[in-house]
Each structure stands twice: as structure tokens, then as C-alpha cells.
């Protein structure tokens, strides 16, 4: 086992640090992400493919570490997203619950401050999110949504690229809030 892999598998400093976000950030940040998703694409349609609520969920799960808060956080954001659609409530909720849970579980094993790991995790969870949403929508709602793996991979890369500066920004925001 190399030094690098040991560092990757070591415990995240995010977990041990006093990384409690204030309550206002727990509410404002996800709402801002959802607001971004429903408002900004009206003027910049390309940004509709930016899954900011998902990235916020992943960031929270990676920084909090505990699976239970992360899954509830994902559920909360997912239900808000469901509420702003005309579909039955729960599809986004389930998907983001799973994302939160698995992201928090993964954060125990990897050094999530490593940019490469962050990039890969963001990319993976975007693909997981889109694929699982497609499965659930077809299975539970019988909706015929198209799923283009190539396009999803491309947008996954885009979201992962956005995730790096976003996570850094949120870390700084959290640090400023704690200080």
C-alpha cells in the first residue's frame, strides 16, 4: 500500500473538525440551489443541466460524514425539488436520500479533500443520480424519459468540474460562518 493510497483511505479531517454548519446554512444553501435550478435556466438554458441541489447534497454528505444526517438532508432537498415539479412527490427524494447516504458512507473511506477524489465522487454521484432517477421514473411512474449515457457522462464531467470550486467556496463559507 503506497503512501498515496494510505492517505486516500485515511480518515477525513472534515469529520474530526468542528464542521457543524449553522442552521441558517442548512436551509439557505439548499434553497438557493433549488432556486438557482428553477430560475437561472430561464435566461441561460444550458445551466439547466447543472444539478446544483445534488452537488450541495454530496458536499454536505462528504463534510458531515454521518450517513443519517446526510440522508435526511438529501431527502429534504429532493422533496423540495419534487414539490416544484408536477410529478408525485418522492422520486427526487428517494434518489437524493440514497446519494446522501452513499456519499456519507464513502467519505469514511476516502480523503474527500483531495480534488481528484472530489471530482470522481461528484462525477459518479451525478451519473448515479441521473440513472436512478430514470429507473425510478420508469418503474414507479411509467414515464418514458430518455436516458442518453453519453450525454449523461458529459454532463457528469461538467457537474464534477463545477463541484471543485463550489465545494471550496462552501468550505470557506462554512469556515466564515463558524468564525
Amino acid at each position: 500500500m503506497t503512501e498515496y493510497t494510505e492517505r486516500l483511505l485515511s480518515k477525513s479531517p472534515r469529520k474530526t473538525a468542528s464542521d457543524r454548519l449553522q442552521l441558517v446554512w442548512l436551509v439557505v444553501v439548499p434553497l438557493a440551489a433549488v432556486l438557482f435550478q428553477v430560475y437561472i435556466p430561464r435566461f441561460i438554458p444550458f445551466l439547466a443541466y447543472l444539478e446544483l441541489p445534488l452537488l450541495i447534497t454530496v458536499h454536505f454528505a462528504l463534510s458531515r460524514g454521518g450517513p443519517i444526517p446526510a440522508l435526511f438532508y438529501g431527502m429534504f432537498i429532493g422533496l423540495v425539488q419534487d414539490s416544484l415539479s408536477h410529478q408525485p412527490i418522492g422520486i427526487y427524494g428517494i434518489v437524493k436520500t440514497l446519494v446522501g447516504y452513499f456519499a456519507a458512507s464513502v467519505s469514511v473511506r476516502f480523503d474527500v479533500q483531495n480534488p481528484v477524489v472530489t471530482f470522481i465522487l461528484a462525477f459518479f454521484f451525478y451519473f448515479f443520480h441521473q440513472f436512478f432517477y430514470w429507473v425510478l421514473a420508469r418503474a414507479l411512474l411509467a414515464e418514458t424519459i430518455s436516458f442518453d449515457p453519453q450525454q449523461t457522462l458529459m454532463f457528469g464531467l461538467l457537474n464534477a468540474a463545477v463541484a471543485l470550486p463550489l465545494f471550496r467556496f462552501l468550505d470557506k463559507l462554512k469556515g466564515a460562518g463558524e468564525s
Binding site: L31, V38, P67, S83, L84, P88
Partner: protein
């Protein structure tokens, strides 16, 4: 059990949460009911912020945009160009203002003229969902908006309200894949169901392949769905082709051009008439309807324009024979002398010896403006000087028409000279300078004259 719960605490919570949400979905799907509490909370939390952002954007973005435009101009140009740039900016600003005012005026005018009771609303945000096409508007249940209300613009229908919250409403656009509405075509009144496709065009489904729908034809709401009042424009047909069972008609929605910004929510819909073709499709000009010929054709034959068959022609011949021999059909006891049927012309047009020639005995001659001939006075579809159509070989039965004097009554004097010359050529076989032209056996209602009429002029 305690060991299991403590050992797999995280997994247990995850399963409980997932199962809970699955039950929530199952409840909604099975009962077709919503969970209004969650939705109202979420929408009430998000839409006021959206409204605020929209107001701020409206009043600031234009200035910011102007600022950045000005920066480039200021760096490159002298004073004159700067002034020019400022004038352009001012012009653009005024144009935008004018455009906004025009849009608002059109909306207001439509609102005034429409019999339906409506309320104006502004689109303030899009909905989430991978495949859904929904938007939020800034009018909610406090403004009287309810689920199921139609959303329109003066150009056409936009969608329908699927959820009404206190401060906003969720509108499903007509391009949403789950949208459907009853529509009817303007010309042939073909009924169908408009379905969203998730992109710019909508499909009109359930129209039989036998129905005729033209490209560019307008579709209107039929009122069958009890949501959209009858008579609102939907869009024009972009493509129409036969499918396996039903026609595949794609319509470009007229109300979605450029993306709706200001819309009207129909609070109380009133059905209205579907307008005429001329008003609804101004880009298609149509000719006036042909004038009806009131003069009866000889022998009681069907008038031009009516359906004319061989049986009709035969009936006319027999009727003419009865008139010539002063015999009334259906009168007289059995055994009375019938008319001499040996003196009637054959069905192929050979006239009886004592019967007036069809061309001569006509009671109505085709006028220059109305070249449609009567059955017996059928003008030949012969080529006239200058005509480009090749002459056809004469038909056997009509190849040898008996030369008859050209009547000199007043009616023939009205004919154009070219037509008279054509008659002369036909009736005078001793002038074989040009090939003998025989009128083809064309029904009177659709003679060759429409094609050749311009040539006869």
C-alpha cells in the same frame, strides 16, 4: 432485534426513509391525490424569492447590460461615436419599452375583447423535473386561480394550471409530454387530441388517415376537454402524414413562440366560434367561390358543376326524345304507343335524324366568362391557336360529326371569336388544315375547359 438495530442502525434508518417515500409515491399514484402540505410549503418558500429576483432583474439587468455595451463603445470610439452609441442604447431601450408596452396592450386588448374572464400573470420560473415542461406564474389561489384553468395568450393557448398555491401557480405547458387537449381543424373541422412531445412541436393524435388536413392549416381548441374554451387558436400544421392507424399531424404552437412571459389565466371560459379561414390564415389567399349558373341545362340535364354520369346523359337523351315526339313518360294506359326509340341517338352521342344537334339545340351557350358547357352543347376541348396542348386523336363515335350550319341566334354572337372559329373548324371537315379535334368524353362538370379556358380567351 436490538443487536440488529444497533448493528445496522444506519441501514435501518435508510430503509425506513426509502420505504416511507415509496409509500408516499404509492399513495399519490393510487389515489391520484397530491400531498398539498409539502408542496405548499416548498412553493411558498421558493416563489416569493423568485418574484423578488424577477423584479430586481427586470429593473437592473437592462442597466447592467447597457453598461457593458457602453464600455466597449467608450473604449473604441470618439465623442461622436459615443453619442451615437448612447443614441443606440436609448433607441434599444425605447424599443424594448415599446415592445413591452405593445405586448401589454395586446394582452389588455385581448382581455377586453375576449368573452372569457381572465387574469393576467407573469412567468416567474421554471419547474424542476427531467422531462417536464412546467412554469410558475405569479398568480395563485388568492387571485382566484384554480387547478385545471386554461392559460392562454392572444397568439394561442399556452397550457393549463396544474397546481394553484396562494402566491403562485404551476402551469403545465402544452409541450409537456403529459399534456393533452381537444382540438379541431379550421377548414375541415377534423377533431383530434393535441399532445405535447417535450419539444417545440405538438402532435395531434386520433385523426383518421382518411381525414384531410393541409400543411399550414390552423387548429383551434374544440372545447371537448372542458378546460380550454372552444375557439382559441392552437397552432398551424407543420407536417401531416398518414400513420399506421391515425394521421401524424405536427402542430407548431402559436402561443409558445419566443417563450411565454405574460399570459392570461382563464378564470371563466366562454366558448366562441372558430373564425373563418380568411381571418385565421392570412398568409393563404384563396379565390372567391365560383358563381352559380342559374340557367337550366337543356333537356333537364344536370347543371354545370353538378355530378354528371353516363346514366344522367342517357336519361337526358331519352327525355329529349320524348319532348321531340311529344310524348310524356308515365302518362297513358298500358299498351299505348311508346315513343320511337329507334330515332333517338345512341348513348355515344349520335343524334337522331330529326333531333336538333346538341351543339345547335343548346339553349344556353357557354359564355366567354363561363366556359363550362352543358351536356349536349359541350364545347370541344380542341386546341385553339396558340394552345400548347397536343391535339388528341378523334374518338370513334365522334370522329365524324355531321356538318351543321352554325346558328346565328343572338346567344352565339356573344361568344368570343376564337370559340366560334373552333366550332367552325370542328363542324367543317372540309377544312383539314388542322387535325380534327374531338371533344373527349369528359363530364360536363369537369370538362377540359378549365385547363383550356385561358387559352380560349
Amino acid at each position: 432485534m436490538d443487536f440488529f438495530l444497533s448493528r445496522f442502525r444506519h441501514l435501518t434508518v435508510l430503509l425506513i426513509v426509502i420505504v416511507g417515500q415509496l409509500l408516499l409515491i404509492a399513495y399519490q399514484v393510487k389515489t391520484h391525490k397530491d400531498v398539498p402540505l409539502i408542496r405548499v410549503w416548498a412553493v411558498t418558500a421558493v416563489t416569493p424569492v423568485e418574484q423578488g429576483l424577477e423584479i430586481v432583474r427586470r429593473y437592473t439587468w437592462g442597466y447592467v447590460e447597457d453598461y457593458f455595451v457602453l464600455l466597449g463603445v467608450r473604449n473604441q470610439n470618439d465623442k461622436l461615436r459615443r453619442e451615437n452609441g448612447q443614441l443606440k442604447i436609448e433607441n434599444n431601450y425605447l424599443k424594448a419599452e415599446l415592445s413591452t408596452a405593445d405586448r401589454a396592450r395586446a394582452l389588455s386588448l385581448f382581455q377586453t375583447r375576449s368573452q372569457s374572464k381572465t387574469v393576467a400573470a407573469r412567468v416567474i420560473g421554471d419547474g424542476t423535473g427531467a422531462n417536464s415542461k412546467v412554469v410558475f406564474v405569479d398568480r395563485g389561489s388568492t387571485s382566484g386561480v384554480e387547478s385545471g384553468m386554461a392559460v392562454v395568450t392572444p397568439d394561442g393557448i399556452v397550457g393549463k394550471v396544474v397546481e394553484a398555491y396562494p402566491t403562485a401557480s404551476l402551469v403545465m405547458l402544452i409541450i409537456d409530454p403529459t399534456f393533452a387537449a381537444g382540438v379541431v381543424s379550421q377548414k375541415s373541422r377534423v377533431h383530434g387530441t393535441l399532445k405535447g412531445q417535450g419539444h417545440a412541436e405538438c402532435l395531434v393524435d386520433y385523426v383518421q388517415n382518411e381525414e384531410h388536413v393541409d400543411i399550414g392549416e390552423w387548429f383551434y381548441t374544440s372545447g371537448d376537454d372542458r378546460i380550454f374554451p372552444k375557439g382559441f387558436p392552437v397552432g398551424q400544421v407543420a407536417a401531416a402524414q398518414n400513420g399506421k392507424t391515425f394521421k401524424q399531424i405536427y402542430v407548431t404552437p402559436s402561443g409558445m413562440q419566443g417563450g411565454p412571459e405574460e399570459v392570461l389565466i382563464v378564470l371563466q371560459g366562454v366558448h366562441q366560434e372558430i373564425p373563418g379561414e380568411e381571418t385565421a390564415s392570412p398568409s393563404y389567399s384563396i379565390l372567391p367561390a365560383p358563381t352559380a349558373v342559374s340557367t337550366p341545362a337543356p333537356g333537364g340535364a344536370p347543371q354545370p358543376g353538378a355530378l354528371f354520369t353516363d346514366a344522367d346523359r342517357l336519361r337526358a337523351i331519352y327525355k329529349q326524345a320524348g319532348i321531340d315526339q311529344k310524348h310524356t313518360y308515365g302518362v297513358g294506359a298500358p299498351g299505348t304507343k311508346p315513343p320511337d326509340f329507334t330515332k333517338i341517338p345512341s348513348a355515344h352521342g349520335v343524334p337522331p335524324p330529326n333531333a336538333p344537334s346538341p351543339a345547335i339545340s343548346k339553349q344556353v351557350q357557354p359564355s366567354a366568362s363561363q366556359p363550362q358547357p352543358s351536356p349536349k352543347a359541350q364545347p370541344p376541348a380542341q386546341p385553339v391557336l396558340g394552345a400548347t396542348t397536343a391535339p388528341k386523336p378523334p374518338a370513334p363515335a365522334l370522329a365524324k360529326p355531321k356538318p351543321r350550319p352554325i346558328p346565328s341566334d343572338d346567344e352565339t354572337d356573344d361568344e368570343p371569336e376564337s370559340v366560334t372559329r373552333a366550332f367552325e373548324r370542328q363542324l367543317a371537315p372540309r377544312q383539314p388544315a388542322r387535325p380534327a379535334v374531338v371533344p373527349p368524353r369528359t363530364p360536363v362538370s369537369s370538362p377540359a375547359s378549365p385547363a383550356s379556358a385561358p387559352n380560349n380567351q
